[in-house]
């Protein structure tokens, strides 16, 4: 895999933060929150084993860098796993946890400046605190982006209480990487790992839909939003949104342009597993809107991201370079 320009950048990869977990522990114990303990018993068991198995990858920069070398990834744009976004903490503790995460990421980046960049965490359960931490990420820590979840304790990201956050994000030209947390109403998602397999793309579909229909993208067209998992279900089936927009006043609701035009403002990672699906994303949204992502180090991730890109028919060398790293370098200022 030497046929792409360097650096190859992974926009979707996770690193746990022990210090933040320690800060959150009393409240986690009180609420009974455990990482990845959703779904049926078998899912819980598999995830528990997985978290143990992943520990060295989470804790050791050397193990991580060796894996990156094997995967052909030069730079990881690191974010915490979604279960460490800790939106269920109160605002003060949430801010402390975000600070711990961001300091930890900054330290790792400083130790290996050519291999890592940080996508910070912000405590959106308290939008003012989130703005404060966003500014610190940008000015003090040198991060060019943050990771947020698809909803904040059930509140859609288009909720008016986040409007000032979006304004600040746009002003600071920060990238926002949006990653799902478990679907809020998982009654029918217990079996077969559906909470992740269907819940994740569903969360992304709902989130993107609300950012579009509630006018966030209309008001903030310069936002640089990257969706994980190729944006979930929506990018492949946008026609249903557009049809409803044209057919029904309860859908269009004063939105000036059809939903697919706003959808085209988003960026999508390559975590769709299949060359056909990835080819579709690239053809429809442009090679300048698709970014290599792996979901490292989880089992729902992609071990050979460059191989996947190479399997897509009809890409030019320029397309491949953009997807493998050029787009991320442009957005993150690398």
């Amino acid at each position: 895999m030497n046929n792409v320009n360097r650096p190859v950048i992974d926009i979707h990869c996770h690193r746990e933060c022990g210090a933040a977990a320690a800060l959150a522990k009393p409240e986690a114990d009180r609420l009974g929150h455990k990482p990845l303990q959703f779904g049926n018993q078998l899912t819980k068991d598999v995830n528990k084993v997985q978290l143990e198995y992943l520990r060295p990858k989470m804790e050791s920069a050397e193990v991580r860098i060796a894996d990156m070398d094997e995967m052909g990834v030069d730079i990881q744009a690191l974010s915490v796993p979604p279960y460490q976004l800790f939106y269920w903490l109160d605002g003060d503790t949430g801010l402390a946890a975000s600070r711990a995460i961001n300091d930890d990421l900054a330290e790792l980046v400083e130790a290996h400046p050519s291999r890592f960049v940080g996508l910070g965490a912000v405590p959106l359960q308290d939008p003012d605190a989130a703005i404060t931490e966003l500014k610190r990420c940008s000015s003090d820590l040198g991060f060019r982006g943050v990771e947020i979840a698809t909803q904040i304790q059930g509140d859609e990201l288009s909720n008016p209480r986040f409007e000032a956050f979006w304004e600040t994000v746009e002003e600071l030209e920060m990238v926002v990487f949006i990653h799902p947390t478990p679907f809020t109403h998982p009654e029918r998602f217990t079996e077969h790992f559906f909470i992740n397999m269907i819940g994740h793309p569903l969360e992304e579909t709902l989130c993107a839909g609300r950012l579009i229909f509630d006018g966030v993208m209309e008001r903030h067209p310069a936002l640089k939003i990257v969706f994980a998992h190729g944006g979930g279900y929506l990018p492949a089936y946008a026609g249903r949104f557009d049809h409803a927009y044209h057919a029904r006043s309860d859908v269009s609701h004063g939105l000036p342009k059809p939903p697919s035009e706003y959808l085209s403002l988003f960026y999508f990672d390559t975590m769709v597993f299949e060359a056909d699906q990835l080819g579709f994303l690239i053809n429809r949204y442009g090679s300048d809107h698709v970014l290599l992502g792996t979901d490292y180090p989880y089992d729902m991730g992609e071990d050979d991201p460059l191989g996947l890109i190479n399997q897509v028919d009809g890409l030019s060398e320029e397309d491949r370079n953009l997807i493998a790293g050029g787009n991320a370098a442009r957005l993150l200022g690398i």
Partner: protein, 328 residues
């Protein structure tokens, strides 16, 4: 011959029979609709009432749309699966009788699709036999039964009898049951419909229903919802996670490939993806007539694709003729 496999009929008598017994929580998709959506839908039903009930009004539209034959199925909002064991079989029988009446009104232009009282499996099995006796080639089934997923063991005798009778299943969702976040922007339908199909079909596959009933033919409307465009995520999880391998040994996408998909996807490149992935012989013209979320001009959509003339012919009617035995 052009055949529309996805159209809806209302049977007002069945609504009258069930209305006194209905509780709002029985119909979560309506419960979670916004007031403006409910108002818009009521107005739409009022204006389109003839199309939903009167075969003559339908024939005018069919001629205008270039449709020779409609498969006539109930509107999913009239499943009334929550009706009790006394009421539900009577409701289904009256609905099927009315559908048979529409077929008899203009033989050759309408083909019946039966409904079953799914919440009462013994009655559903008996009604399936009656549907076959009425000469219908298919039944329409919701994507869940009062929130119970279709791979639940209680439905096993229904799949067996459908397979035995050779009745094709048209899987039609009524929306997603846990729809609290789908209230605005008609997302109860816009996202709820494809989501429900995705959930239902993934469970039918992983729960082993297609493995146990290889003779079961199923048509997924709305182009198969989200699953048809994103099966790789299920395959990946199947390879990596034991939770998915409890009932089947083959990749989920292999079962998906044996199903049929309608055209209600709105965009020519989506039709092309369906045809490329599942074969043009697995794509069927369907419009969702007379709903506003339907296709007004299905033949134009087919004409806009880059498919060959013979593939277009298969999609516009050839596949349906074969699958539903309309040549006989």
């Amino acid at each position: 011959m052009t055949v529309d496999v996805h159209t809806h009929l209302m049977v007002p008598e069945s609504a009258d029979m069930t209305r006194p017994h209905m509780k709002p929580e029985d119909e979560p998709r309506t419960l979670f609709s916004s007031p403006v959506t409910k108002e818009l839908n009521n107005e739409f039903y009022r204006l389109a009432r003839d199309k939903y009930t009167d075969p003559d009004a339908r024939l005018i539209d069919m001629d205008r749309m270039g449709i020779d034959v409609q498969l006539v199925a109930l509107t999913p909002f009239h499943y009334f699966y929550w009706a009790d064991s006394d009421l539900a079989p009577r409701v289904a029988a009256i609905q099927n009788q009315r559908i048979a009446g529409v077929v008899a009104h203009t033989p050759g232009r309408f083909v019946g699709v039966g409904t079953l009282p799914m919440a009462h499996p013994d009655a559903a099995v008996a009604e399936a036999r009656r549907v076959a006796d009425l000469g219908f080639p298919a039944v329409e089934i919701g994507a869940d039964v009062n929130g119970v997923d279709l791979d639940d063991p209680r439905f096993e005798p229904i799949w067996s009898v459908l397979e035995e009778l050779g009745l094709v299943v048209i899987l039609h969702p009524a929306g997603f049951t846990e729809a609290r976040r789908l209230t605005d922007y008609y997302l109860v339908n816009v996202i709820g419909m494809p989501l429900s199909t995705t959930l239902a079909v993934t469970r039918l596959i992983l729960g082993g229903v297609f493995e146990r009933h290889p003779g079961l033919h199923m048509v997924l409307i709305h182009g198969g919802g989200y699953l048809a465009y994103y099966p790789a995520r299920v395959d990946h999880a199947f390879r990596h996670r034991p939770e998915l391998r409890q009932h089947i040994d083959r990749l989920p996408s292999e079962y998906l490939a044996s199903l049929y998909f309608d055209l209600t996807v709105f965009e020519p490149d989506m039709v092309e993806i369906l045809a490329a992935r599942f074969g043009a012989d697995h794509v069927l013209l369907g419009t969702d007539y007379p709903f506003d979320m339907g296709l007004a001009d299905p033949l134009a959509l087919i004409a806009e694709t880059n498919l060959t003339a013979s593939d277009r012919e298969l999609i516009s009617g050839g596949n349906a003729s074969r699958l539903f035995g309309l040549d006989n």
